[in-house]
């Protein structure tokens, strides 16, 4: 622990600029993974035999990346709304993470189209039938669906849920799909713009307006995460519902994006950046937040399981039933241990949070467990939905890996390339010095 007080004199004017050339190996790796992944994905999408299973792979990969983008937006919003100073030195890195919302939205586009989402969302197929009836009989889709439900009572919940779960009003699944990415992109872009302007004129008014902006947009942000989780994952089975679902996904977002930040900061430091501005105190603070969200996730995950387990309502228990039978049971147990107990015990003690090696190992593990968690949420639905009489669709894991490479590779490449366009930290932020010298 150095007691030396860092002042403006110790810092380079204009902040530190990341040179992508220094990280060319990692950027090249991400680029290669992304490029090959996208080629593979195009093949899997074009081939009608592999498309059904690959639709799930794509949803899984997109949602995995989506949680990091949400996490990036969340941490900058929270940081500005709570008027904190400690994270000024790492805030820019989170802003960049949030800025991936638009490229991610472009990658997510296949999910909007019928050939892909007809394999994912059964309710959409019923709605399409209803829409065909409606055109034929000159009625509305809602009325046509109502008629269908009279013959098939299983469709009755779809009539009841029509106000939310539909593709034929202004508040449809498709409209919301686009809105989520625009909201996240708007949040990240606006906050980033304020702080980039501040680097020009050095005025405190940008900090204040960022705080006001963050307080207002926290609400749409919360709705975005919740409804995106509901739209994309919960509606895979239109009968299933859980009121904790949005919070559950949110907990994973905040948790995993903090882990990515720890790895990224360590990586940048190993390249010689951020040496003076990021201290072990920052590692400790980030480690504490990682620990907090480990516990928060466990709390939400258990509450969700517990309520469904106790109430024992068939529509609800199906979710845990398929995840607690056959091979998925072991994945569930592994998640309980690896997602909660392991990180909890390791992060409990302070010196371990201040040791970059230990905390980075934990962060890697956290990202892996988050991957398992998202996989466990999306993929068990695949075999029953596609009518495969087995736990897994044979060979579909290859598609999962390809989709993951395509999405993570492309976004990682874009992230690292984009890092170089501005200083790595907000070098004219009025609270920069306070943040560098933080003690906790």
């Amino acid at each position: 622990m150095s007691d030396h007080h860092v002042s403006f004199k110790d810092l380079p004017a204009g902040g530190e600029k990341f040179e992508p050339a220094k990280a060319s190996k990692l950027i090249g790796l991400f680029g290669a993974l992304g490029g090959l992944g996208i080629l593979g994905s195009i093949y899997f999408f074009m081939n009608s035999a592999t498309r059904p299973a690959f639709s799930y792979s794509w949803l899984f990969a997109i949602f995995f990346a989506f949680t990091f983008v949400c996490g990036g937006c969340f941490w900058i919003l929270l940081h500005n709304a709570s008027n904190s100073s400690w994270g000024v030195v790492i805030r820019r890195l989170f802003e960049n993470l949030g800025m991936l919302a638009i490229p991610l939205g472009l990658l997510a586009l296949p999910l909007l189209f019928e050939p892909v989402n007809k394999h994912l969302y059964e309710w959409m197929n019923h709605h399409r039938t209803a829409a065909a009836h409606a055109t034929h009989d000159h009625t509305t889709v809602a009325e046509a669906l109502h008629h269908m439900a009279e013959e098939n009572p299983h469709l009755h919940p779809l009539v009841e849920k029509f106000g939310y779960l539909n593709n034929s009003t202004w508040f449809s699944w498709n409209v919301r799909f686009v809105a989520y990415f625009l909201i996240l992109g708007f949040i990240a872009y606006s906050l980033r713009k304020k702080f980039l302007t501040q680097e020009q004129d050095g005025s405190i008014k940008h900090t204040i307006s960022a705080r006001q902006f963050a307080c207002i947009t926290l609400f749409p942000f919360a709705l975005t995460v919740t409804f995106a989780a509901v739209d994309w994952l919960m509606s895979l089975d239109y009968l299933w519902f859980s009121t904790m679902w949005g919070v559950y996904i949110f907990a994973g977002c905040a948790w995993s994006s903090m882990a990515v930040m720890l790895l990224l900061v360590t990586y940048l430091r190993s390249l010689g950046y951020l040496q003076k501005v990021v201290t072990m105190e920052h590692y400790h603070l980030m480690g504490k937040l990682l620990f907090a969200f480990t516990v928060f996730w466990a709390y939400i995950a258990f509450s969700q399981y517990f309520l469904i387990w106790y109430a024992n309502i068939p529509e609800e228990t199906r979710f845990y039933f398929i995840r607690n039978s056959e091979g998925w049971r072991w994945v569930s147990i592994f998640i309980v241990i690896g997602h909660f107990i392991g990180p909890f015990v390791v992060l409990l003690s302070q010196p371990r949070k201040k040791n970059p090696k230990v905390i980075c190992a934990v962060a890697l593990w956290v990202i892996f467990m988050h991957l398992v968690d998202i996989y466990w949420n999306v993929v068990p639905e695949r075999a029953p939905s596609l009518g495969v009489d087995s736990v897994l669709v044979a060979g579909a894991w290859i598609g999962d890996a390809v989709a993951l490479c395509a999405v993570v590779g492309t976004l990682g490449y874009l992230y690292l390339r984009g890092l170089g366009s501005n200083s790595l930290y907000a070098w004219r932020d009025p609270r920069l010095i306070e943040s560098i010298n933080v003690k906790n």
């Binding site: 622990m1 007691d3 258990f302 399981y305 517990f306 387990w309 106790y310 024992n312 409990l348 003690s349 302070q350 003690k439």
Partner: protein, 199 residues
């Protein structure tokens, strides 16, 4: 002139500012003193490091206190409400604890009932940890006690208002009546006072 027998508690020294106290603390730390303390009306950031205070061992006690809470809750519930221990081959426990399996919604009463026990396990973990924190802390800092020798100093009353003090106890192996006083003078102390306590 009083003839009451008195015992020297140590030196009490006043400092003008937080900065003076902070730097003085660094000096006293480097001299290797063990039994001494700083007193200020508000927390001073970084003073722990300047005083060389080591991390408390209290968290370890709390960890095991919490674990005790978890296991107490689990054992009490599983013993009285489930067939968990009999299933594990310890049927003799039935005679001691009179297992009374609680059947809820026709759910089995063995190990699979575990989720039902979690809320109580969680609560008792918190409760036992909190008790360990409170009572462990009181034991570590030596509370409750009726009085403290430093309160004999009239000047010391300022510590809760605008005074910054350092006290070095006579029990410290490095303490000497002359040497410690000159050290305190050297590091910028004002109003050095030898605190004596009635026996």
């Amino acid at each position: 002139m009083s003839t009451t027998l008195k015992r020297v508690h140590g030196y009490l020294a006043e400092f003008d500012s937080v900065k003076d106290l902070y730097h003085a603390a660094e000096q006293v730390r480097d001299q290797g003193f063990q039994r001494w303390d700083c007193h200020s009306p508000f927390p001073i950031h970084g003073l722990d490091a300047a005083m060389g205070v080591k991390r408390s061992t209290l968290p370890w006690f709390v960890f095991f206190g919490g674990m005790a809470g978890t296991s107490t809750a689990f054992i009490m519930q599983s013993l009285t409400q489930s067939t968990f221990w009999s299933d594990m081959g310890m049927g003799f426990l039935e005679k001691i604890a009179e297992t009374y399996p609680t059947v809820v919604q026709a759910k089995p009463t063995g190990f699979v009932t575990l989720p039902a026990f979690f809320p109580v396990m969680f609560e008792l973990t918190i409760l036992f940890s909190a008790f360990t924190v409170l009572f462990g802390l009181l034991a570590f800092i030596g509370l409750p006690r009726w009085n403290h020798p430093l309160f004999t100093s009239k000047r010391f009353e300022k510590f809760s208002d605008d005074g910054f003090f350092m006290s070095i106890e006579a029990r410290d192996p490095k303490f000497s009546q002359e040497g410690t006083k000159s050290l305190l003078e050297k590091i910028g102390a004002k109003n050095i006072e030898l605190v004596e306590d009635d026996i």
